[in-house]
């Protein structure tokens, strides 16, 4: 009875408490240890262009945004190889967190794809295995989408290959063009023509709008606006990706055009609050004249929608595109790098690129296959595939926190330029640069 109240009880509580604290502290230290105990697995060993197909089971992650393309490739590979790839699709918004948590606990899968703009985060954190020798040994190494290869090159070593390509292009509704007395075979070739054609379609009224864009979505902004800046030969970032040049005359001309669409109500309702979740769902309804869209949505458009595809033009002509999509690499901790490479090498080969990727109306990852048996049947596909060579994939270590973050500095700049106080753009550009150099 009295034992718990007297000095021995107090001592026991003290000892128990100390032991508990020490145990907790040691566990915390163990959890937090940055010790790199892995042998690295790695993919940089053998420079075998084909890898190994010996019946291994490979794990692979991809984000939901590019699920159909990944699933098609995995299904075709599993049907024709002894190795089997087990694909896990992760919600797009959770992908970075999942990769980060898995990297911390050394639980990354054998293969993981990533939005190409986030690849520098992973290469600089040594999450991918070095694939330089393997990539260079491919007979078509020089024909791979170089913007993806460049994004995945860190300290002169190559870590990823293109997995799915998603290009920004203009979709225009040919039926609405005819109704607006526009030539459906003459899409805009300058920003001014884009403006005129959007306004002509908008004048039809009856719920028809000239254009649309994701006005509250930083990712949509870089995807849609930057090609117009690149088309004029200007840059948006310095080479190192540490400084923004988003206040050039061309950039301001582009913002002013978008601003004019908002001011004159040429844009479909919802652009101001569109966070990117539904921005590709507006065009298929057939009520928008011409707008930037991801090329991966071409195969998803309604069959009865007569749509044309054109490159995104600059203010005075030219053309460019944002080469987005996913790049893929072998995780640095994979124990099955040879088998994982077998999947990657196969996925870039002629058969996979033509019979799986092109057959789905997706963009091929190799410039030498831009014209293939499927694209020949649809001139729009050739136009998209050929754009890969003119496209850019911006490189910046802090890309996500600067441009994709819904509370980041680029979205502030974009919204000030298009909806708010355009005078703030220069100051906003400084905030973008500060975030890039953070």
């Amino acid at each position: 009875m009295g034992g718990t109240a007297g000095p021995p009880g107090r001592r026991r509580r003290l000892v128990t408490g100390t032991v508990a604290l020490l145990t907790a502290a040691s566990l915390v230290t163990a959890c937090g240890s940055g010790d790199d105990g892995s042998d690295g697995g790695g993919g940089g060993g053998a420079a075998d262009a084909k890898g190994t197909d010996d019946g291994a089971t490979l794990t692979m992650w991809t984000r939901a945004a590019t699920r159909p393309q990944s699933e098609a490739l995995v299904k075709a590979y599993n049907a024709s190889h002894k190795n089997k790839v087990k694909l896990t699709v992760v919600p797009t918004d959770d992908y970075q967190a999942k990769v980060g948590a898995a990297a911390g606990s050394k639980d990354l899968p054998d293969l993981f794809a990533s939005d190409v703009v986030f690849v520098p985060n992973y290469t600089s954190s040594a999450l991918f295995a070095d694939l330089t020798e393997r990539i260079d040994a491919l007979p078509f190494a020089g024909e791979l989408a170089q913007s993806h290869i460049k994004a995945g090159t860190y300290e002169d070593k190559k870590y990823v290959v293109p997995h799915t390509l998603d290009l920004s292009v203009l979709f225009y509704n040919k039926d609405l063009y005819r109704k607006a007395k526009l030539d459906p075979d003459k899409p805009p070739t300058t920003l001014a023509e884009w403006d005129q054609q959007a306004r002509a379609v908008d004048a039809l009224g009856g719920g028809v709008d000239g254009t649309f864009f994701g006005g509250n979505c930083g990712g949509c902004g870089v995807f849609s606006m930057w090609p117009s800046i690149w088309a004029a030969g200007d840059e948006v970032l310095n080479k190192e990706g540490t400084e923004a040049t988003l206040t050039s005359g061309t950039a301001k001309q582009v913002y002013a055009t978008y601003r004019g669409w908002v001011k004159d109500d040429i844009v479909a309702p919802g652009a101001r609050e569109e966070t990117g979740t539904t921005w590709t769902g507006v065009f298929p309804k057939g009520k928008v004249g011409v707008m930037p869209m991801p090329s991966t949505t071409l195969g998803l458009m309604p069959k009865d929608l007569d749509l044309g595809v054109a490159p995104i033009p600059g203010p005075d002509g030219g053309k460019s595109t944002f080469v987005g999509g996913d790049a893929i690499g072998i995780s640095a901790t994979s124990k099955s790098a040879d088998q994982a490479w077998n999947f990657l090498a196969w996925s870039l080969g002629d058969k996979a690129q033509v019979d799986v990727v092109a057959a789905r109306k997706d963009v091929v990852a190799r410039t030498d296959l831009a014209s293939n048996k499927y694209s020949k049947a649809d001139s729009r596909l050739v136009a998209i595939n050929e754009l890969v060579a003119d496209g850019h994939t911006p490189y910046a270590l802090k890309f996500g926190q600067t441009f994709n973050d819904p509370n980041g500095p680029w979205l502030t700049l974009m919204r000030d330029a298009v909806f708010g106080d355009a005078q703030k753009v220069d100051k906003d550009n400084d905030a973008v640069s500060a975030s890039l150099a953070d």
Partner: protein, 300 residues
Amino acid sequence: MQVKAAARPRLSPRAVRGLAYATPTAVFVAVFFLLPLLLVAQMSLSDWPLLTGDQGINAPENYTDAIDSTLFWPAVRFTLLYTVIVTVILLTLALLLALLVQESRPAAGFFRTVYFLPGALGLASASLLFWGLYSPTTGPLSRILEKLGLVDDPVSFLGTPTAALLSTVFLIVWKFAGFYMLILLVGLQRIPHEVYEAARMDGANRAQIFRSITLPLLRPSIALTLLLCVTGSLLAFDQFFILTKGGPDNSTVTVVQLLYREAFQRLNLGTAAALSAIVLAVLLLLNAVQFRGLRRADES
């Protein structure tokens, strides 16, 4: 023998039983609360990028970075404003609903169920549902209002800072009013009928009964709902993450959203942990004040 027995008293069967009952909870709390808490404390004092892990102590940089962030004070102000608005509306409405359905009338059970039903839905699911309803591109609400002739142009439910805040408050009130009604209903039903009878016999009218009997005797239940509502609102995340993503123009960024942003957009677990520690300290302080108030109310 006697000396040994005095130095090490044997545990009574009752004490052993008590230990057996308490141990699973103690282990659970240690593993799932205390250990993570210690880990968060360590993270908050360390340079800890999400992708590369612990890079060593850098205190107090994470705390100064968190507070120096341009979004920190606006997020604090917004979270407090949201908490006040939601708490006042929710508590008033929940009390009204509880008073409406407290008597055992024929349809009382039906209405209690109807009011409580939204509370059975997860907050993320409810937010997604409202996001769909509010969407000017895919949602029906704006179109219905237009067809009814109540508005001429599409309604932007999330397009301005005020609209975004009010639309989110509406969702939360719809979802939680029934839940808080239930807590207050239990409190109302614990008030003995005899007290009301005596008041009526003394000639008290409805307003006097409410002011002098219902409210004072309901104080513990009101204090509990207040505690839950304030804590829940200060930790608001899901609804804003899904409905507004902190926009438009960073006008609806809450403190927990800022924490999430640090961890998963800026990939900086150290600063995110520092923000967690700050939020935890504020909540502890607030809950202590509220508990003290609750105890005083009980004593009086």
